[in-house]
Amino acid sequence: MSDNDGDTRPPTNRMIIAVLALFGLLIAAYMTLYKFGLIGTLACGAGSCEQVQSSRWAVFWGIPVSLIGLVGYAVIMGVALLGLQPRRFNNRRLSNALFVLATAGFVYSLYLSYLEQFVINAWCRYCIASAVIATLIWIFSLAELPRLRRAP
């Protein structure tokens, strides 16, 4: 089967995933700059972000969690954009790759949300936004799978 078989319309799911990943990328970039002290304040206020971001769970294997998010969203966005080139509209491998990446991101987000709820006991609104985006990306990557399965 060639990549050009089937639908010639641009796959909407991939467009949505690319836009969502862009939002995730921007949030992760903001949080990374915050972590490196280039943004925000050096004081504690009523919010909980500084508590989450300065906890020892904000670093995973020596790498700031936000930086992992930054790279993850960039890769997902890259794959989604690759899949939006007309000759790759119906490339099934890209849909599978998106699904695998999105699942990894979703599971990782679940783990971070678990830490916030049960271990750190503080919620950071940017972390919540990122978790919502990761969940939406996963849903759209799941929705993208049957489109190409239908093709004989």
């Binding site: 641009p10 862009l22 921007l26 970039a29 304040t41 504690c44 006991n121």
Partner: protein
């Protein structure tokens, strides 16, 4: 027909790339603006004058700080701090030793600690402040304060009050266990800690750490910068007609 489809698909994609590009530009712009704003805020060393801070004891009668340094020191530095705030931990670890050796020990400055338990997600700060007062009873406030801030990640998490851990730190410092336990498990010092927080509120404190040098409020960014602090303290000394401190760097 196919050509028409292809044309439409092309224009769909084109508008998609436009939307994506505009969003990306807007996002990058917003982040750049936030970075710039942070940088300019940090550069501002302009203190805020708060007249009432000249005589804080009269403001909220119950409030009582913990001081180090001479009572007649020409410069007074008040610091409002929260034991669960990570930045207070950084401030205490990095700045307090510098301030003590450079200004407190020569008798230029009196350093006064005030509690400002933020509440909210900092749910154990109030208890920690009270426990530190109980340690003060036995002459170990600063040792206990350093231990609490150094071990934040050990006792801060969790929803249950970490009474056992707070008592354990007392034992670690050789405090009289029975007296310390009786104090921590009572409501002793809740009035002083509350009054300290109220005093802070009246002085316009809304984040920790917030410091005052004589009657001027300074932000955490300035408090974390020894050069800016030196400049402010020397300005106070000069205003009082006293010799400024000279530093060897």
């Amino acid at each position: 027909m196919a050509q028409k489809n292809r044309a439409r698909q092309g224009s769909n994609l084109k508008s998609f790339y436009w939307v994506l590009g505009v969003l990306a530009l807007a996002g990058v712009g917003a982040i750049a603006w936030l970075v710039m704003r942070t940088q300019t805020q940090r550069a501002a060393v302009e203190p805020v004058a708060v007249e009432a801070a000249r005589d804080p004891q009269a403001l909220v009668a119950m409030a009582r700080g913990v001081a180090i340094g001479r009572d007649d020191a020409p410069v007074k530095m008040l610091v409002f701090s929260d034991f669960m705030c990570p930045f207070c931990g950084t401030f205490a670890a990095q700045m307090e030793p510098l301030i003590t050796s450079e200004f407190v020990e020569p008798g230029t400055l009196q350093y006064v600690y005030y509690d400002f338990p933020l509440g909210g997600s900092h749910r154990h700060s109030f208890l920690a402040s009270r426990a530190a007062r109980c340690a003060e009873e036995q002459g170990k406030f600063w040792e206990y304060h350093n231990l609490l801030l150094g071990k934040q990640s050990d006792w801060s998490p969790g929803t249950k009050p970490p009474v056992g851990k707070l008592l354990g730190y007392g034992t670690e410092l050789g405090l009289d266990r029975a007296a310390f336990e009786a104090c921590v498990e009572s409501d002793k010092y809740q009035d002083i800690v509350s009054a300290n927080r109220m005093l802070g509120e009246q002085l316009g404190v809304n984040a920790t750490p917030t410091a005052f040098i004589n009657a001027k409020r300074i932000s955490a960014e300035v408090a974390m910068d020894i050069k800016a602090l030196r400049q402010l303290i020397n300005a106070e000394l000069a205003a009082a007609g006293l010799p400024t401190t000279t530093t060897t760097e």
